[in-house]
Amino acid sequence: MTHPHHHDRAAGAPVLQVTGLKKAYGAIQAVGGVSFSVQPGEIFGVIGPNGSGKTTLFNSMLGQITPDEGKIELNGEDVTQLGPLELNRRGVGRTFQTLQVFGKMTVRDNLIVAAQEHSGSMFSRMFAPGDSGLGARADALIDQFRIRHVADKKAGELSYGQQKLVDIAMAFMSEPDLVLLDEPCAGVNPSLVGGISTLLKQLNQNPKIGSHSSFVVIEHNMDFVMDLCHRIMVMVEGKVMAIGTPAEIRANKEVLEAYLGS
């Protein structure tokens, strides 16, 4: 396996380190000083009511927007100013809250294109074989996600739940160090949520694909988050209210009052 983006990470050093991140939109301080770190192989959940700044935080980490203040470090490297393209090359993958598959391509092609540009110059791929040698990896993911029966269909023809699986699979094709999952259960049939949770756990531990991946997951489905994540960060009004294990968060009175409600 080639991982061109693996740095010589010091043992115990975090994959992701966010320090003092701030972003304001006019008078609204969407993110007001957020700091946290994600350890290698960790599944890190981010929860909070609507408007708590989760999406802005995510978009900053993904290079879609530039934060006003603060630092984002990936494997020790300062990536605060980088855009989505450079971040992908450094081993960051993401899924989208609204479906973002390439509807007119087959499922298999969706997966192949998801990793084909990850390394090497585009000119080396001119007139090269169509699957860029990624066929085996795509097939492995297709089997793992159990979408073999629709692999040759156009992605746009699949059901919502199936497209969601493709969307998630695409994020893992380039074997990223860090995967940011933006509401992976949004709009998904409750019966499928368990399947997604199992898949993500498998990907987190599977030595072939994804095992060195750390996840950061935004989700509203509490059961899903508590079951899946190793640690959870609670955001309220742009600030961090608490970070801890699911058990600690469940027992945290402040969080219960502000957010969990019951």
């Binding site: 993904l62 855009g83 989505p84 393209l85 971040l87 992908n88 090359r89 993958g93 993401r94 989208f96 973002q100 598959v101 390439f102 509807g103 007119k104 391509m105 092609d109 192949i112 294109v113 998801a114 990793a115 084909q116 540009e117 990850h118 585009m122 791929r125 001119m126 007139f127 090269a128 074989p129 169509g130 860029s132 023809e157 695409m170 380039s174």
Partner: protein
């Protein structure tokens, strides 16, 4: 299905190779005309159909190619050097035209390409010292090929046919490579594409550049075909017609340009029997075609397949419903 398409290809190849000597001179000329526009439209199909850009200035590159070849030949330089020169120049200018595409949104990009076409056309029309202005350039020769003269319509037709096949194979190779998927990703979801490491910037620029180069080569062939060029066929109106050809044939379908160029070039000729009404029939046909097949003529197989799938799905649902209601 594969056997059927192989037979279809062989029949087409046979017709294109064997039939022309039996056609009248005008028929051969029309075939060559059609081929030239297939090449030009293939380029635009890449830019607009595969990469999802907006380009309403394609005829400008067509014209640049034509004038470059015509002027170089007048200066005594061989057609075979002029043609690549035209392609190269158009490639470079295409990259330059791609830069606005990186900054402006779709509709404004369309305007920018219109503006570009207009500028080029104005230069062609006014710079008489270079282009002959509205008087154009005439007596453009036909090239020779390893000593053989290609003066006759028939001989030149085989050259154009060969070039069309060559350019088509090149494009097919490019689209089958990872570049094809990258272009499609750029077209369908540029944001996702970027987050997957696809360099949308470079692919955008290249989609314009390669499309432009194709138009340039077509223009060069055009110059020696019609042997007299002037600015009119390279104005915005022609760009709009080329855009029509891509959309009618089917944007993003490899053979779309073949059909689209046929509709744009050959159909008006066939309709001449309708005399004064032939343009009305053509215009109305385009409108009806768009309403019926918004994705172009080549989307017909996909639509049939989609209808079949829908039928099967609803039949399956009906069967399932029936089973659920059946007594145990």
């Amino acid at each position: 299905m594969k056997k059927l398409s192989l037979i279809a290809w062989l029949v087409t190849a046979a017709v294109l190779l064997v039939a022309p000597p039996f056609l009248k001179n005008y028929g051969i000329y029309l075939l060559s005309y059609w081929m030239v526009f297939i090449i030009a439209t293939m380029g635009l199909n890449l830019t607009v159909g595969y990469a999802g850009q907006k380009s309403l200035g394609h005829a400008a590159f067509f014209g640049i190619g034509a004038y470059v070849v015509a002027l170089l030949m007048k200066a005594g330089i061989s057609f075979w050097l002029g043609l690549p020169a035209a392609a190269l120049l158009c490639f470079v200018v295409g990259i330059i035209l791609g830069f606005p595409a990186l900054r402006v949104q779709t509709i404004y990009l369309a305007f920018a390409t219109l503006g570009f076409n207009t500028a080029v056309w104005l230069v062609m029309r006014n710079e008489e010292w270079l282009t002959g202005g509205t008087f154009g350039i005439n007596d453009i020769a036909r090239p020779g090929f390893f000593g053989m003269s290609l003066d006759s319509n028939l001989a030149y037709y085989y050259l154009v046919l060969g070039m069309t096949v060559l350019m088509g194979l090149l494009l097919l190779g490019l689209l089958r490579s990872p570049w094809g998927k990258a272009f499609t990703a750029l077209r369908d979801n540029p944001i996702r594409a970027e987050s997957l490491g696809i360099d949308t910037r470079n692919y955008t620029l290249l989609s314009f550049a390669i499309g432009a180069a194709y138009a340039g080569i077509a223009g060069g062939l055009f110059a020696s075909l019609v042997q007299f060029i002037e600015p009119a066929p390279f104005a915005v109106g022609s760009s709009i017609m080329m855009y029509l050809m891509v959309v009618v044939g089917g944007p993003g379908y490899f053979l779309g340009p073949v059909l689209g160029a046929a509709v744009g070039v050959v159909l008006p000729e066939w309709l001449r029997f309708a005399q004064a009404w032939y343009l009305f029939v053509f215009g109305s046909a385009v409108v009806l075609l768009m309403i019926w097949l918004p994705d172009g003529l080549l989307s017909i197989p996909d639509r049939i397949r989609a209808k079949k799938q829908a039928k099967e799905a609803s039949a399956a649902r009906a069967a399932a419903a029936k089973n659920m209601g059946a007594p145990t």
